[in-house]
């Protein structure tokens, strides 16, 4: 998961490499749009550093500002304020054709009048690279994206997956400081998309270029990224490794947007050993690790992932008494083959989703209407900022 390159990140501010210069840096960058004479913020003041060779994802729902953020890196949008740095150089106000980054567009945007070779060679020709050099580099790049032999094909004669590779080759052949990908796999069907995810990751390792990947697909971001910035309403809500984002969502939005989360709130009854206890009934309680600022009586919100929860019929095993226990009634059972998903109405008031692996006893399924106990270890509860 972590390549030697990225090991350099540990112990340093995120996104800064050993030599200290991030590939891309935002300093107080913000963007407002004028809409009906009113200034509407698309991206609120943002500081961001993306490291050399990093696979960095901007993840969020549509309209969250992720595409605007990317277009400010490319130079298609100018920030309303703040500075954009590429490799330490201030490029704010520099035209897109003079920025050493390349983009893979959402619908590929291949030149329809040019064949594969001419599409890929376009950037090198503008840079006045010699003919022989162009030929060699285009050949190498087509080899990397497995399109050798397709040189003479026009875009309309190729499948979506092939066009996708041409778009990738057309950008990467220029050895940009960073490659910007705007939902590049959105138009492909599921099977092809999964293939391309693996391939993109391989290509990124091979060429060692910084990838900035815009997507609304959390699965895609979690699989491919070194780090993810989760955006909402023009703000980065959380920035971290896929594991951090998934295991420790910082906000209610992140918890809900990434995967499935069960959210439950309540008042703290008592604190001990860095854990807060929320009691609902004599036996129903949630235990959550908290900081020292949380005091008894505070209202807090707790998140727990569905796959961390154990579902018991009858009485919960005594061993789990140190953790959280909630009783409830099964509302819904959905059998998925490898797992079974339950929806349980709990005594805490919230409906919980539980993923139960069908490891051994597939016959031992709870039914709708069954009374069950949900238990999970203290470390799987997570207090989130509201």
């Amino acid at each position: 998961m972590t390549t030697p390159q990225h090991a350099a990140f540990s112990g340093q501010p995120p996104g800064v490499t050993a030599n200290g210069t991030p590939a891309i840096r935002f300093a107080g960058v913000h963007k407002n749009y004028l809409s009906h004479g009113e200034s509407v913020p698309a991206v609120k003041p943002m500081d961001l550093a993306i490291g050399q060779g990093e696979f960095f994802s901007l993840l969020g729902p549509s309209g969250c500002g992720k595409t605007t953020t990317m277009r400010m890196i490319a130079g298609f949008e100018e920030p309303s304020g703040g500075k954009v740095y590429l490799d330490g150089q201030d490029v704010t106000g520099v035209a897109p054709n003079k920025r050493d980054v390349n983009m893979v567009f959402q619908s590929y945007a291949l030149f329809p009048h040019l064949n594969t070779y001419q599409n890929v060679a376009f950037g090198l020709e503008r840079k006045k690279v010699g003919k022989a050099d162009i030929k060699r580099r285009v050949g190498e790049m087509l080899d990397i994206v497995s399109l050798t032999g397709m040189e003479k094909r026009q875009p309309r004669e190729m499948s979506g997956g092939q066009q996708q590779r041409v778009a990738l080759a057309r950008a990467l052949v220029n050895h940009p400081r960073a490659l910007l990908l705007d939902e590049p796999l959105g138009a492909l069907d599921l099977k092809l998309r999964q293939q391309m995810q693996i391939e993109l990751k391989r290509i990124q390792r091979e060429v060692g270029i910084t990838f900035v990947y815009v997507t609304h697909d959390q699965g895609e971001a979690l699989t491919m990224s070194d780090r993810i910035a989760v955006m909402n309403a023009g703000v980065i809500e959380q920035l971290g490794s896929p594991r951090e984002i998934y295991e420790r969502p910082a906000t209610r939005f992140v918890a809900g947007f990434i995967g499935t989360s069960n959210l439950v709130d309540g008042h703290v009854d008592r604190c001990e050993n860095g854990h807060a206890l929320l009691s609902y009934t004599a036996q129903d309680r949630v235990v959550v690790p908290v900081g020292s600022s949380v005091r008894p009586g505070d209202k807090i919100e707790v998140s727990v992932r569905p796959e961390k929860i154990d579902l018991h019929r009858g009485v919960p095993p005594v061993a789990s008494t140190g953790g959280s226990v909630l009783s409830g009634v099964v509302n819904e059972v959905v059998y998925h083959g490898t797992s079974t998903n339950y929806t349980v109405a709990t005594a805490a008031g919230a409906d919980f989703t539980v993923f139960d692996q069908n490891a051994s006893n597939a016959e031992d399924l709870a039914d709708r209407g069954d009374r069950v106990f949900l238990t999970w270890a203290p470390q799987h509860s997570y207090m989130i900022g509201v």
Partner: protein
């Protein structure tokens, strides 16, 4: 039985259109061809005699007007491209939500009759009209200068009257260009001029090609603009045909001239299409 029906269906569907063409295109063409080979005069009537001399005599008598029409056609078409491209470009790329409004405004004058519009140009270009008199009064042009009755006046009228025939096809081609393709060119180190030359222009050429086809033919065979804005020194072939037919009742010469004009235009267009077929145009421009 069903299969026979299914196979017949397409032919039945084109039957009305086919009949229409037969009646109003093929029949008149044959009638005109027959007319062009007849001999005689209005009083004693015309007789079909394979009189090919009609053609040679017509060319001999009116080759000046024929060549002049083609020259006017070429000049007007070139000016049309120069004028129409920026208009179409602006509407397509900067028209925003008002694109159709701008197109409507462009077409609005053409709701008025062709002849009336041309006559109003006469008012504009007349010696003491709104164009010439101010220029003369500030001394930019000599008092004796006039434009009406000259070739530029006729070409002005032709360009004005056929502007939409060029703007619309060019607009359609430009409007179909994905803005992201232009962005891609900018992203790949092309400055605005290069992205225009390497991407926008090649993608717009099919539209220009269609615009030329649609405007060159009616411009070259026009008979109104020269009549209203020109003089005897600007007579175009369309006027000659009209006069021979309606004033002199010399049907064979008029028909022969019509066929000559048609043949010349067809040859010209085929040569043009051969030299600049859409596929090839794009390939040439892409180099």
């Amino acid at each position: 039985m069903d299969r026979v029906k299914r196979q017949l269906a397409p032919y039945l569907l084109i039957l009305p259109g086919g009949l229409w063409l037969l009646l109003f295109f093929v029949v008149p063409m044959v009638a005109m061809l027959s007319l062009s080979l007849q001999q005689g005069d209005v009083v004693n009537g015309y007789r079909f005699t394979f009189h090919w001399q009609n053609y040679t005599e017509a060319i001999e008598a009116y080759n000046t007007q024929l060549i002049r029409s083609l020259i006017y056609g070429v000049i007007a078409t070139i000016i049309l491209i120069i004028l129409a491209f920026p208009v179409a470009y602006w509407i397509a790329f900067y028209g925003g939500k008002r694109k159709s409004t701008y197109l409507f405004l462009l077409l609005l004058p053409f709701f008025v009759s062709f002849v009336l519009r041309t006559i109003s140009w006469r008012q504009i270009l007349t010696d003491d009209g709104p164009v010439l008199s101010p220029l003369k009064s500030i001394g930019l042009l000599p008092e004796s200068y006039h434009i009406l009755g000259t070739a530029p006046a006729v070409i002005c009228g032709l360009v004005y009257n056929f502007l939409p025939f060029m703007v619309l096809p060019v607009y359609v081609a430009l409007e179909r260009i994905d803005p992201r393709v232009v962005e891609a060119a900018r992203d790949l180190y092309a400055n605005p001029a290069t992205s225009f030359r390497k991407v926008i222009l090649p993608l717009a050429l099919p539209g220009v090609f269609a615009g030329v086809l649609m405007s060159f033919v009616p411009v070259s065979s026009d008979y109104v603009n020269s009549e209203v804005l020109g003089s005897s020194s600007t007579t175009m072939i369309g006027q000659v045909i009209q006069k021979q037919y309606l004033n002199n009742s010399d049907y064979p010469t008029a028909s022969a001239l019509s066929f000559i004009l048609m043949a010349v235009l067809l040859v010209g267009i085929f040569a043009y299409a051969r030299a600049l077929g859409t596929e090839d145009v794009m390939k040439v421009a892409a180099r």
